[in-house]
Structure formats: C-alpha cells, structure tokens
C-alpha cells in the first residue's frame, strides 16, 4: 500500500520536551486519528510535517516528497485546519478568497464558493465574527479548493458543539470517498476517532505508544477489574496503570494476557479514552515506585 504520509525516526528536543524516534505512516485512502495527552508532542509532530518546526533527526515524507526540501510542492497539495483561524480576521469570505487565490497554482474559485454555500457560510460577514464551527468549515473550504490530497487537522473538534462536530465527520467521510486522499487529525474527542478513523496513533511523552489499525487497538486491550487477591502471580507485571482502591483494582491489560485468568475477574472492552488514562497512570506509578526505591 502506498503511503501518503510517512514519518521515520523523528527526533527533536527543546527544553525538557523531546520527540523520541517518532515513526508512523498513513496509507493513501484512509483516515488516521492522532491522540495523546496535552504535551505528548502531537502539535510538534504536525508542525514538523508542515516544516514549521525544525527537527534534529529523522525523515518525513508527504506524497513521497521530502518535507524539508520539497516543502513548496507539498503545500500545493496539502490542506491544514488548525484550532484557530490562520486567515485575516477583518476580511469577509469574498476578500479572503481574493487574498489566498494567488498562493495556489490549482486554486478553483468556483469550487471554493460551492463549498462555502454547501457549508452555509455567509460571504459578506467578517470571518473574525464567525463561530468556531464556521471558522473550521472555512479552513476546510480553502483546503478543498486547491485540490488538497492530504488534509491535516490539529484539534479541529475542540470547542465545537456536537452539531458542528457531526458536520465535520460528514465532510471528512465524503472527502475520503476518493481513495487517493488521506486525513490526519489530532483530537481529544476520541469518540470521533473511534467512529471514523481507520488508523490511530497514540503519542505519549514524545514517543509512539501505539500506531496501527484502530481495530487492532480496540481488540488488543481490555480493562480488567476485580479483587487484587484473585490476581495470579506474575500477572501484575503485565498490567498497565494498575490502580488499587478499597474495593478492588482496575488496570489495562492486553487481551492476549487474558487467557487463564480466574472468572472472578471481570473485563470489558477498553475505549481510547480509557487507554489514555491508564497509560498516564502507569507513568505516575513508575515515577512513584522509583522515588520509593531511592
């Protein structure tokens, strides 16, 4: 399968933050959800793809082109949606169109206004006065109007009401019907990822914790609950984010490790949200126990 986006061993450090050997790829024709707690490195990774941030080592290929040396060629074919508007806020849609047009070889005015109409956006109102959902749709309209083959969205759903989020999913589902395109979107609203994404990458503390098909993730992990004394010896080391409280314990477990556990332990499918929480707990636990040893 041909990859529309490929990141290999991306490293970057500044201050006390670092991206460590971040590698993942997105095949053409699919949607990837990009998740992880605040400060996990999602935005830095996205900024690196867009050549807005320099990285120390590694390689990023978009449409098979190098993200640094071929950045202009890449941007002709790339659409971006950020959580805040990058366009001039004092202009209206018509003025914005005139302003952006010269930047793209393949700009299609008709297509732009068709999207604007489809998204119910007013053409004579200052875009600075648009609601968050309207701004998001405007940025998508821009991406669609220069025939972007890859759309990268950074937190597009944060601060959006449920109706606008649903509209976004609609737009993305329609966009990806063309199998030559791709979508990478970072979000905290993992329910959106669970519904529409084909692939998911989880970033944690600057490292890739998981990357692959969403099915593999959701079938690969479960939340285990029960009484601590029912846990067979040795299994505790395999648990992620183990947390004991007065009436029992909770932890994340690989479904492969479920075999042979006593019936007194209950397990259920883990959502992406739960996985993120247990990964974070595991971290605290490690830090805590290390502190204890010292």
């Amino acid at each position: 399968m041909e990859n529309i986006l490929e990141i290999k061993n991306l490293n970057k450090s500044y201050g006390d933050f670092a991206l460590k050997d971040v590698s993942f790829s997105l095949p053409k024709g699919y949607i990837m959800g990009f998740v992880g707690e605040n400060g996990s490195g999602k935005t830095t990774t996205i900024r690196s793809i867009l050549n807005m941030a320099k990285f120390d080592s590694g390689e990023i290929r978009v449409f098979g082109l190098d993200s640094v040396t071929d950045t202009i060629a890449i941007k002709e074919r790339l659409g971006v949606v950020f959580d805040s508007l990058y366009l001039a806020e004092h202009l209206n849609v018509k003025q914005i169109e005139r302003q952006i047009k010269p930047f793209y070889k393949d700009w299609q005015t008709e297509e732009f206004f068709r999207s604007i109409e489809e998204f119910d956006l007013p053409t004579d109102k200052k875009v600075g006065d648009f609601s968050k959902g309207m701004k998001m749709k405007l940025m998508i309209a821009v991406a669609l109007s220069h025939k972007a083959e890859l759309i990268i969205l950074d937190e597009p759903t944060s601060g959006l009401d449920p109706v606008a989020r649903d509209e976004l999913l609609d737009i993305l589902a329609e966009y990806i019907e063309d199998e030559n395109r791709g979508v990478l979107f970072s979000t905290h609203i993992t329910a959106d990822v669970e519904r529409i994404a084909d692939y998911v990458t989880i970033l944690h503390s600057g490292k890739v914790w998981f990357t692959g098909e969403l099915n593999t993730l959701s079938e690969g992990y479960a939340v285990l609950k029960g009484a601590e004394e029912d846990l067979p010896a040795g299994i505790k080391d395999k648990l992620i984010g183990f947390h004991a409280y007065r009436n029992g314990f909770e932890a994340l477990i690989k479904t492969d490790d479920l075999a042979g556990l006593p019936d007194s332990l209950e397990y259920e499918k883990a959502s992406i949200d739960e996985i993120l929480v247990y990964i974070a707990k595991e971290d605290k636990h490690e830090r805590h126990s290390k502190g204890h040893v010292v």
Binding site: D170, R195, L214, N215
Partner: protein, 124 residues
C-alpha cells in the same frame, strides 16, 4: 438496505452491520443479485471507517452472502448459491429445534407441534 448503528451497543460496528445485512439478504429485503454500495460509499453513508466496511464485505463474501465482481463491485449472491443455501438450511434447523424444544417445554405432544407447524405454514 437499511442499516442502523448503535454506538452504545456491545457489538462492534462491523458485527452490527454484518448481522443486519445478513438478515436483510436472507429475508429478501436486499434482493438477490442486487448491487451493493461500494466499500467507500458505504463508509461515507454510515460515517464509519473504510477498514470497517472492508471487513464487513470480506466477511460476507467469505460466508457466501455476497460476491465480488472484479471491476464492478459487490453483489448479493444468487439464491441458488450453495453456501448461502447451506446457511439458510442451518438457520432453519436451529429455529425448528428451538420451536420443538419450546413446544415440548409447554407440554405439547409431537402431533400437536406438527399440527401447529402445519397451520403456521398454511397461514403464511
């Protein structure tokens, strides 16, 4: 074809769709040899991932409910299809077994159960 996805269901989305499509193929709501939406159309219509709809079509094709025609897309398998027929027979046997068990549990004699089946067949 009518598909309803419940987000709060215990069943994964692909299984929900498979069950509903199988039911509609078996009861004829989706006619035999009818063309199905493409994998990508279905994903778009249901607002779900392409990998999920790919899995649905692959599973249904493996079980003989639908067939893939190169360059044309997916179609409901013809009714004389051996695999599908086998499956329908199997469904019938399971349902009959259940009916007999329920009848006996209710204290009916074998003749009464057969009579009930006959009147049911005449009725439908």
């Amino acid at each position: 074809m009518k598909i309803i996805i419940k987000n709060k269901s215990e069943l994964p989305i692909y299984e929900q769709i498979e069950q509903q499509m199988k039911a509609q193929i078996l009861d004829g709501t989706i006619a035999e040899e009818e063309q199905l939406p493409s994998i990508r159309q279905l994903a778009r219509d249901l607002k779900i991932s392409v990998i999920t709809t790919t899995r649905v079509y692959n599973d249904l094709a493996n079980e003989g409910f639908i067939i893939s025609v190169a360059g044309k897309g997916y179609f409901v398998a013809p009714r004389n299809n051996e695999l599908l027929r086998e499956r329908m027979l199997c469904e019938m046997e399971t349902a009959l077994e259940q009916a007999v068990r329920s009848g006996r549990d209710a204290g009916l004699s074998d003749d009464e159960i057969i009579a009930a089946l006959r009147s049911f067949m005449e009725g439908s």
